[in-house]
Symmetry: C2
Subunit: 501 residues, 2 copies
């Protein structure tokens, strides 16, 4: 009997986040849910990441209502979400009481599996949310962000896995957000984690497809003992997205491993989303092929094209290569953080500044915070000179404590402020929505009653006049664009860098 390899289907969250800027409306997912639910997945990732933000910012959808609908539509499936540790689904650190409440409410509304990560792999930033998940009786999946640097070693990843197991995580996820995980390290890391933590420790592997090598990495991870891998149905796969679910199933035929997925249902899901995809043409990623240069810059694929378009707006389109070469330098100076939301944006933006204004002539506030420990600790030492500049710029000292320890209890204040908003329904869920995205939530509460807005368009309809290029088209990732007006020698430079998905 071949060993069963479990699968997490990403189509309802990371697939459309990576390939169509998180714009898929719930309405367009509903018809596929029955087949997804009955296909035999270990879990269905359908919430968290950028979907929460996108729901209220673009789709006029209540993210909590979306979660409840998934719960109803996927009665046989484990629902899974991506949670940014102490950042929850926002872009700042939250005080522990808010973390507890968020996890409670997500669990109460139907979430089963919480994949918890911190962009810097700082275990202190995931501890509280993992504890909250455990307390809610749900599955806590501790996550290791995979990156490559002179300091990152198999041993280091294993130590982190052991710490996560000690926190009570029921499974470990190796999260490769930029498709950097090559077959041999995939094998080595999974094998070493299994050896150190015990065969019974579930290991899940999440990879993107951008560099073209990661289906091979999944094969090697499986050979090393991985229990579950993440894929997306083929009609919404590849490029900056993920490996195709159907290819995974076929790949294992004849090997000592097998996926117990219903191929007829997979085909129906594939065909369904093949029909949906063209409706979101204007949001589709430009990257459709393979980009192995990412192994050098480590900037996720989605971000490169954004950087390119934004540099062009500044009349600096020819600077992209310089920026990509500068990214590894900035990353080194910052102590080799993995590059994932929000560190990817912070490092990327600083690299743009360094190329356009001279190295560290201008520091972003976020980069200064990163240097000073306000996002947590990094594996490497920060460059002492750049650290000094950061202190001078931010007019504050470096910290070594857990960033959230600096925060005072904030739930009551958030609740009062949230409830005071027009259109707030008084629920803790609404208060949490407000806590994540105060400005956006305020607007959303007033428009919510108008109902969801489907941004998909009939691809056979006559196209309107060509949309102008640039951020106004609404294309590109969901998350807050970092924009700066920078004056240098009397000249104002507009610099905006949108984050990767």
């Amino acid at each position: 009997m071949p060993k069963t390899i479990d699968v997490t289907e990403l189509i309802l969250r990371d697939a459309h986040q990576s390939l169509m800027a998180t714009r898929m409306a719930m309405e367009d997912m509903v018809p596929a849910c029955e087949d997804i639910d009955k296909a035999g997945y270990w879990s269905v990732e359908c919430w968290g990441g950028a979907t929460f933000d996108s729901c209220i910012r673009f789709l006029n959808e209540d993210p909590w209502e979306r979660l409840r609908m998934f719960r109803k539509l996927l009665p046989n499936s484990r629902l899974q979400m991506l949670l940014r540790g102490q950042n929850l689904l926002g872009y700042r650190h939250y005080e522990d009481g808010v973390v507890d409440r968020f996890v409670d409410k997500a669990a109460e509304n139907g979430m089963d599996v919480f994949r918890v990560f911190d962009a810097l792999n700082d275990i202190r930033n995931v501890r509280r949310s993992i504890k909250a998940v455990r307390k809610a009786g749900k599955h806590a999946q501790g996550t290791i962000c995979y990156t490559v640097s002179p300091l990152h070693t198999v041993t280091g990843y294993v130590e982190m896995a052991e710490q996560l197991v000690d926190l009570g995580c029921e499974s470990i996820c190796i999260k490769d957000m930029a498709a950097l995980l090559k077959p041999q390290p995939a094998y080595d890391i999974v094998k070493a984690i299994k050896n150190a933590c015990g065969e019974e420790t579930r290991v899940h592997v999440h990879v993107h497809a951008t560099t073209g090598v990661t289906l091979v990495s999944l094969m090697k991870a499986i050979e090393a003992g991985a229990d579950c891998v993440d894929t997306a149905i083929s009609s919404l796969s590849l490029g900056p997205g993920h490996n195709p679910t159907e290819s995974l199933v076929e790949m294992l035929e004849g090997t000592p491993y097998a996926c117990k997925l219903d191929k007829a249902r997979l085909l129906k899901v594939k065909e369904y989303f093949a029909g949906i995809r063209p409706r979101y043409q204007e949001f589709l990623s430009n990257i459709t092929g393979v980009e192995t240069e990412i192994f050098d810059s480590q900037i996720p694929g989605g971000m490169i094209s954004n950087m390119e378009s934004q540099l062009k707006q500044q009349g600096a389109g020819d600077k992209l290569k310089e920026v990509l070469l500068e990214v590894p330098n900035v990353r080194k100076d910052a102590g080799y953080p993995p590059l994932v939301t929000p560190s990817s944006q912070i490092v990327g933006t600083q690299a743009v500044f360094n190329v356009m204004m001279g190295r560290y002539k201008v520091l972003t506030g976020e980069f200064a915070d990163l240097m000073l420990g306000y996002y947590g600790s990094t594996l490497g030492q920060r460059d002492p000179e750049v650290l000094q500049l950061a202190q001078k710029h931010a007019k504050k000292d470096a910290i070594t404590s857990r960033p959230a320890d600096l925060l005072k209890p904030e739930w009551d204040a958030l609740r009062s402020a949230g409830l005071a908003l027009k259109g707030c329904n008084g629920s803790d869920e609404d208060v949490l929505t407000y806590a994540m995205f105060p400005q956006v939530a305020q607007k959303f509460f007033t428009t919510r009653s108008e109902g969801p807005k489907n941004l998909g368009k009939d691809p056979s309809a006559k196209p309107a006049a060509a949309a102008p290029a640039g951020p106004d088209t609404g294309k590109g990732p969901v998350m807050t664009t970092i924009a700066y007006d920078v004056k240098l020698n009397g000249k104002t430079h507009k610099v905006t860098v949108a984050p990767a998905t």
Copy 2:
């Protein structure tokens, strides 16, 4: 020291044949040749397959001149071609004398490595060309077309490999034209061939990417001892094409294997063809993602979209699924031939006829010939009832001899006919061009002096009125479209099926 894995680069032949209907002009390849030549490939596939036909049919290029240019531009590289055994580069069997002359002239003009295959894996159909290659002192690569059926076994493939080695082949190629080769059989077949034929027998593996699993298959083939694998530079890869060269290189990092390719040069080649690709937009394959249904129908990806568009023209667009389900039946009745030019077109067309007119109510002449052994022998028994129908239809008996044995010496007649054509330059090369494609060559000889015609278009130029869909656009593969007017119950059906690339 890691074992060196050799690479055959496909960009100059199969990559653009599979992805842009073989339309790339020599002019658009020239600037990349220096980097390709110096990147460190084992060989550069640049001739044969459908390129010969495309040169004279669409590009007004002399294919022999193209070969001589490649020889000049790639002085450090082994030039490689795909040769259809006794069919050479045409679509019928040639008498042995013509085979000898073709191979001689290809060798004389600069070809180094001849990959020789027969669509039915009938060793009798490759014997003469392999002998000719050996006699010319060039590298004969014996080829096994990979397919899946209840009769095809690892043992069978090994036997064929042994026969090819006995013929004096210097290497064995496993050719997976429809992306059906999964990782485990890839491993098993390569391992078994190495065991049976000796470690010193070079094994090359050629796979397409259509099903999404075959880079994993290359990894497994390498682990089993494969010496060389085929890839295409990433900007012209994937879909019905091949796995990206750069991904192969990166995939092997840290393993006991390594490619000795110059990554800086690969990047230059990638970027160059990324700029060329949009010029051929109108010829690009519609298939960009992954199609795992091919595992069932075994119809190569390029052919499915052609079938679809042609069925639509007959107002039978809804019949595609039926046709795809019928293909395996027809293939079984024909004795399980691999599906590759020309068997893929013959079986595919008959499946269309069976669905539209009733099973075997109408037989194509080619299908009758296939049933009667005029293309060679198949592994399986042919269905006796269908065989009878074929005899009745074709008014001739089945044969068991080598098809070319029925042919009388034909070189002198071909030479006289060729030399009589206006514009023929009197060379044996011109006579061979005429022998391959008599009608097309006749026209080409009269227009040759006008010089090459580049079908690429500036993608930023204002598009003309939308081209009508269908075969008139010139989109689709190069090879002869099989077209029939079929009368049934007084109604005329136009049925055309274009071959897969």
